[in-house]
């Protein structure tokens, strides 16, 4: 095996090996869960593509299917690229690899190919079923099928190029200026919010134009979305200019990104040096010091912020939608058939709204990866006189600080908009707050059960670790409990019944999680 393939194989082995924890069963569970997730995405994307292809074929606009799936694949790709940008130039094994008797180009190439291997499956799972569906159902040509499959293989170049380009620019800025991780995170967040805004605007515009439109006017919409239209024509008709533009769009940023990545590979991440001798010696309580350290750690890691700030952000967006558009409109837009409920009671609207709000804390678990993120620095917490309870407290508080203000604003706005009584407003606040605290503690428990300290970069912990996936899954399931209970048993008690059930269930779960952390969780942390 040549050096290049050997390095790619080793990179994949490192990733696979990093799933391995102390117990063999957990290794199998990690691999099994990943396989289930990929299978689930594959099956659901295939089903969606077939349904979409049938729908567009019946409407006489089959080509829109390719356009829409390209949009989805690129959305995911750009998201990957933005999320990885802050870590892009770094690799912990860079110095070791560069010291080996292997060409620099081979080392860098192996890293890029490995990244491609990680990015490609999801983008392929989104785009390939659409291409095949278009060929089978939409009457696409064999040429379109082949070009589509080729484009599917080229699409993962986009997130790689984006991550390397933005990452290199951020790294250069960090060397020149005192740009800490916090500023990097802020820049990426602004870019991300801008991207989301454009994406939402495009989707709503697209939806309004294609709905009920004749084929000719629907297809003209594609032309409004250059450079996406180039890629669409690349697949559909393979005409000269779209093919040239598409290839330029794919290869030029990729080439530039790879050049920048290669030139920076192995350099220290932050070269800024301050020569200021003015030092601050202000003391804080140990708990406050721990919390400050946790907050700095959180804000310094862009991927960590990206992955967890969504919950409160979406909670506020949904609240704004409830307040501005009204709950009925929002609930209808979720796909729930309001008219089938008959005379919809105010209580039912409040229950659905409260249940929807509960889903967002489930998306916000900073704690699910906070122990793993200690990595090789765990010795600091373990070798100093810090009670384990204080460590758990500080880690939970980051999550609570992130969630609680958003929850309070949300409950107050909805309380006023829905003319809820003071008791109902307080009850809803209690449900959300208790659930938020439970999610914080649950994240810690899951991370204690599935710790991972041998990571190469933070993305592996924050996005790809077993503990994060399980904590989110468990959070979603828990969020459903009061809602299901209401529909099965408590409808007669109205919104008050839902709130009572929610408070009792979440209080019980929070107490259980607290007791677990105080006893077994403490022992587990000390044994890490």
């Amino acid at each position: 095996m040549n050096n290049f393939l050997l390095l790619v194989k080793t990179n994949c082995q490192i990733f696979w090996g990093s799933l391995k924890t102390r117990k063999k069963g957990r290794y199998a569970a990690s691999g099994g869960l990943m396989a289930v997730v990929l299978l689930f995405v594959g099956v659901s994307m295939s089903y969606q593509s077939i349904m979409q292809a049938q729908l567009f074929a019946e409407a006489g606009i089959p080509k829109i299917g390719i356009f829409m799936s390209l949009l989805s694949a690129l959305t995911i790709g750009i998201l990957f690229g933005l999320m990885r940008a802050a870590n892009a130039p770094g690799s912990r094994d860079a110095e070791m690899l560069l010291s080996l008797p292997v060409k620099r180009l081979t080392v860098v190439g192996s890293k890029i190919v490995t990244q491609y291997i990680f990015d490609a499956p999801l983008m392929l799972l989104i785009f390939v079923p659409a291409v095949i569906s278009y060929y089978v159902i939409g009457g696409g040509s064999i040429g379109a099928l082949l070009r589509g499959l080729l484009l599917a293989l080229l699409l993962p170049m986009i997130p790689i190029a984006l991550a390397y380009l933005i990452g290199a620019v951020l790294a250069i800025l960090q060397e020149k200026f005192k740009l800490t991780g916090i500023v990097t995170t802020s820049i990426l967040m602004v870019m991300f919010i801008g991207y989301m805004f454009i994406n939402i605007q495009s989707s709503s515009f697209l939806g309004s134009v294609t709905e009920g439109a004749d084929p000719a006017s629907a297809y003209t919409v594609i032309e409004k979305f250059a450079p996406l239209s180039w890629l669409t024509h690349f697949v559909l008709d393979g005409s000269l200019f779209p093919v040239i533009f598409s290839l330029l769009m794919l290869f030029v940023p990729f080439y530039l990104g790879v050049r920048l990545f290669a030139s920076r590979f192995g350099r220290p991440k932050n070269g800024y040096h301050s020569s200021s001798k003015i030092l601050s010696f202000v003391g804080r309580s140990p708990r406050r010091a721990l919390l400050d350290k946790e907050i700095k750690r959180y804000l310094s890691c862009s991927i960590y912020v990206f992955n967890t700030a969504f919950g409160p952000l979406l909670l506020l967006v949904l609240t704004a939608a409830f307040v501005i558009a009204g709950p009925e409109a929002v609930i209808s837009s979720m796909g729930l058939p309001m008219e089938e409920f008959g005379a919809v009671s105010n209580d039912l609207i409040l229950v659905i709204m409260a249940a929807a709000l509960c889903f967002f804390p489930a998306m916000t678990s900073t704690t699910a990866s906070s122990i793993s993120l200690e990595g090789k620095q765990l010795w600091i917490l373990k070798a100093h006189p810090i009670p384990t309870e204080d460590i758990f407290w500080a880690k939970s508080m980051v999550n609570i600080i992130l969630l609680v203000p958003a929850c309070i604003v949300s409950v107050l706005c909805i309380g006023i908009r829905m003319r809820m009584s003071a008791a109902e407003t307080l009850g809803l606040a209690a449900v959300l707050a208790l659930f938020g605290v439970f999610i914080s503690l649950l994240g810690l428990i899951v991370n204690l059960l599935f710790p991972r300290f041998d990571w190469d970069n933070e993305t592996q912990v924050v996005k790809q670790s077993m503990s994060v996936m399980l904590a989110m899954l468990a959070g979603f399931i828990t969020a459903c409990i009061p809602f299901v209970l209401y529909f099965v048993l408590l409808q007669g008690f109205g919104f008050a019944g839902f709130l009572t059930a929610g408070i009792l269930i979440f209080a019980l779960l929070t107490s259980g999680a607290f007791v677990f952390l105080k006893t077994k969780g403490k022992r587990m942390f000390e044994a890490l």
Binding site: R22, N270, L279, K293, K376, Q377, I380, P385
Partner: protein
């Protein structure tokens, strides 16, 4: 000898890892006030395991470790208040600057503002780190991280210092400074227990020495007693080569 003078007592320590490998077997060491205790052994002999067990990082199955009379197993927080530990490769919080890290450690030990200012300034000057403390740790070299970890070890005036290969990564001047600081520290009635591969340093610096091989103690006592008429290097090679 009064019990109070025993800074670190390791009694019949046995540590077996999850894979079944016994890293340390029935090891007993006593470090008294004023001792500058060197712990030497080949790679994989069990030095770091012993040290990590002593500072409360690694749990152990059998035996007992006490710091100034307090059990590491039963009262770990009190023990950690009395000691400072420096690992062989100190990975520190990259997101913080040097001074932020030192303040963090000083906060954990509740060191007053005036005391931390005096101690940080003193050790930063000795280790030539004054101009780097406002810089993010992410841009520090290995040696600078080592120096920062050393300053943090002294910021709360521990009674016992436990150091794992403290001279690795230090430049010659910093190594000399550290040796001076270590002697002064023990001269004030405190104690140091440290591992090293540099036998010349151990021979010149230490008042007591223990040699570990395959997890078992093969020699322990005052440096002159262990060495006898030979050099420490000769004794070490003789003991460790003898199967």
């Amino acid at each position: 000898m009064a019990k109070e003078s025993f800074m670190l007592v390791i009694s019949h320590l046995t540590k077996t890892y999850a894979g079944g490998k016994t890293a340390v077997r029935d090891l007993s060491i006593t470090v008294e006030s004023g001792d500058l205790f060197g712990f030497i052994g080949q790679n994989g002999a069990g030095k770091t395991t012993t040290i990590k067990s002593a500072v409360g990082i690694l749990p152990f199955e059998s035996g007992e470790i006490t710091i100034d009379g307090h059990s590491v197993k039963k009262d770990p927080v009190t023990c950690k208040k009395l000691l400072a530990y420096l690992p062989d490769d100190p990975d520190l919080y990259d997101a913080l600057t040097g001074i932020q890290y030192l303040n963090f450690i000083a906060d954990i030990f509740r060191v007053s503002d005036a005391d931390r200012k005096e101690r940080i300034n003193k050790y930063a000057r000795l280790l030539e780190m004054e101009t780097s403390l406002n810089t993010p740790i992410s841009s520090y070299s290995h040696g600078m991280k080592q120096k920062l970890a050393l300053i943090s070890a002294f910021v709360h005036q521990p009674k016992l210092l436990i150091l794992d290969e403290p001279f690795v990564g230090l430049d010659p001047k910093a190594a000399f400074t550290l040796k001076t600081i270590m002697k002064e520290f023990c001269g004030e009635g405190n104690a140091i227990f440290f591992s090293t591969h540099v036998l010349e340093v151990a021979e010149k610096l230490c008042t007591k020495i223990a040699i570990i091989k395959n997890g078992e103690l093969i020699a322990c006592g005052a440096t002159d007693e262990v060495r006898g008429t030979q050099s420490l290097e000769e004794v070490f090679l003789e003991l460790t080569d003898n199967e």
